[in-house]
């Protein structure tokens, strides 16, 4: 067959460059929020195999993972300057586009027979590739395979990037979704665990960046004008014009990045709403229905469960804690038939006492494994009987982020909104114990939420009230929680 460079292949190449560059920059933004990589599920402090930070944490004070966050320049990260929430929106938005474009691309490859340009169909390609490497090392350009557009090394490299590296990056990325992990624990285990997935995803990033560097270098070596002409006109023609168009396109790409980055930093709320609308729709369909089925063995429990967020810095709370939370009451109200109030004793002596050993996923990327004991939330819901119009639960806490958390941007009472459907998930828990002991203060004593298909910030700690509502747009900034309001996170966070 005649391979050539059909128009759709050229369009895909261009679209791919745009998505890839956004994915790389937003990925670095996400990495910067917890700039440490591990080979263990506990993310045990000090056990990282790589770190990208110069910060040193105190020994004599509680520090949390917000203190460890790095602020990177916009040159390497999107949008830069410690904007995990916006970086996530960009990463997820572009990954949806990238995967769709990739599926179309692969489908067209197979429909048109063009897959043969990338997929080897003879073992002979390996000795030929060896010959090609020897020739490159002699500073000579190897000939293309007979009747094909590439030499053996090129064919193997492009094939590996399209059919191995891209799926690898999608799989290791998906394995970092708490909803997927909770529903299919075997999938994460297959990759070596959640932190393995994160580390491998990073190595995949390095592989992509390395490929792009070598690819561009080789385009220059093979003849910049000639090679770029194939991707512009579909054949080797008008090298000077191709060079000009390519350089202009590269400048255009830079301008696109500068404009979107500036816009994102200047208008974070509309970026959150715009990108979030797309991402949320996909998540609602793919991730929200997944329920947690985790049960880690006792030996897997992390010796030191990490924390994000600092306890209420108020005397009323400290006095209550010194009294072992004897005066604590959980208020449950709002759009319910029977508003109720529970003491800790009420909760501890509830007919059902559920214990679960699960993986905790922080939005920042670290994980730990803990055992949590408490009352299944669905039982509280059954007791208070929500009215038909109730659609969300608002968890109000004793934490005031402005007062308690110097590393946080924003102020006010910490709260999170959770769709009512999550209350019916089997492992949604109001936990009062951790690892067989009363819940420690730093983990949310006396009561915290466990929502095993979501990332950690949704699992409100130091809860004092649960309010059933029909709509959350008039609460706070209306985005569905303190983090959503103040640092532009997304509301349903199955990934």
């Amino acid at each position: 067959m005649e391979f050539g460079y059909p128009w759709w292949l050229r369009v895909e190449h261009l679209v791919n460059i745009i998505f890839m560059t956004f994915l790389i920059r937003s990925g670095i933004e996400i990495l910067g929020t917890h700039p440490k990589l591990y080979w263990n599920e506990h993310s045990r402090p000090g056990s990282e195999w790589a770190r990208f930070t110069r910060k040193v944490m105190p020994r004599d004070r509680l520090y949390d993972t917000l203190d460890e966050e790095e602020s990177y320049s916009s040159i390497v990260s999107m949008p830069g300057h410690k904007n995990l929430g916006l970086g996530r929106h960009w990463h997820f938005f572009t990954v949806i586009g990238w995967i769709l474009a990739g599926l179309v691309y692969v489908a067209l490859l197979f429909l048109t027979g063009q897959w043969r340009r990338y997929v080897p169909y003879s073992w002979e390609i390996f000795p030929m590739a060896y010959q090609d490497v020897v020739q490159y090392l002699s500073f000579e350009l190897p000939p293309t395979l007979p009747g094909q557009p590439f030499n053996a090394v090129q064919k193997l490299s492009y094939g590996a990037v399209i059919f191995l590296l891209a799926p690898f990056q999608i799989l290791t990325g998906a394995a970092q979704s708490p909803a997927l992990e909770a529903r299919f624990p075997w999938f994460v285990r297959m990759l070596g665990g959640r932190q393995w997935a994160r580390s491998l995803h990073f190595l995949g990033l390095l592989a992509f960046v390395g490929f792009i560097g070598v690819h561009v270098f080789m385009v220059i070596v093979h003849g910049f004008g000639q090679e770029t002409a194939k991707m512009i006109f579909g054949r080797q023609t008008l090298p000077a014009l191709s060079t000009g168009i390519t350089l202009a396109a590269a400048a255009g790409l830079v301008v696109l990045h500068v404009i979107t980055t500036r816009y994102t930093l200047a208008h974070p709320r509309s970026t959150q709403r715009g990108l979030g609308a797309v991402v949320m729709g996909v998540r609602r369909v793919l991730l929200n229905p997944l329920t947690s089925r985790q049960s880690y063995p006792k030996e897997a429990i992390s010796p030191e469960h990490r924390v994000n967020g600092k306890p209420p810095n108020a005397d009323f709370y400290k006095i209550m804690a010194a009294h072992n939370f004897a005066g604590y009451r959980l208020e449950v109200g709002g759009l319910v038939e029977r508003p109720m109030s529970f003491s800790l004793e009420d909760l501890r002596t509830f007919p059902t006492r559920q214990t679960q050993r699960v993986l905790h996923n922080c939005v920042q990327g670290w994980t730990s494994i803990g055992e949590w004991t408490g009352v299944p939330l669905r039982q509280i819901v059954e007791l208070v009987r929500p009215l038909p119009e109730a659609r969300y639960m608002v968890f109000l806490t004793m934490q005031d982020s402005g007062r308690d958390e110097p590393s946080a941007e924003g102020a006010g009472q910490f709260y999170e909104v959770v769709p009512l459907e999550f209350a019916h998930h089997p492992q949604t828990l109001l936990a009062y114990e951790m690892n067989g002991e009363p819940l420690p203060i730093k983990h949310g004593a006396p009561l915290r939420l466990r929502l095993e298909t979501q990332v950690g910030f949704k699992m409100a700690k130091w809860i004092e009230r649960i309010e059933f509502v029909s709509d959350h747009s008039i609460i706070g900034e209306g985005m569905g929680g303190w983090r959503e309001d103040n640092v532009f996170y997304d509301r349903d966070v199955g990934i």
Binding site: D60, R61, E437, P438
Partner: protein
């Protein structure tokens, strides 16, 4: 509360509780709810590690007002550990 004691709290010995009451009297601390000066001493919560604004040796010691008619008997006093703790079992 069925005697559940949180791991964050430190259980005080009889002697340590006596020392706390001494400090309470020295400071002239009275129940914020009813003004009574008689207290039962409970556990002590170390504050220095968990809260950034606190002195490293600060504790919140649980005090329960002895006045049976007190509307809010659970209170507490912030003390330096060196002022009431004995020995080192930390």
């Amino acid at each position: 509360m069925g005697g559940v004691i949180y791991g964050d709290n430190r259980i005080l010995s009889g002697e340590e509780k006596r020392r706390v009451l001494l400090r309470v009297r020295e400071r002239g601390f009275a129940c914020p709810a009813c003004g009574s000066e008689g207290f039962e001493v409970g556990e002590a919560l170390p504050l220095g590690f968990l809260w950034f604004g606190e002195e490293p040796d600060a504790y919140m010691v649980a005090l329960t007002c002895r006045n049976p008619n007190c509307p809010s008997p659970r209170t507490g006093i912030r003390l330096e550990g060196s002022g009431f703790l004995l020995g080192e079992d930390e």
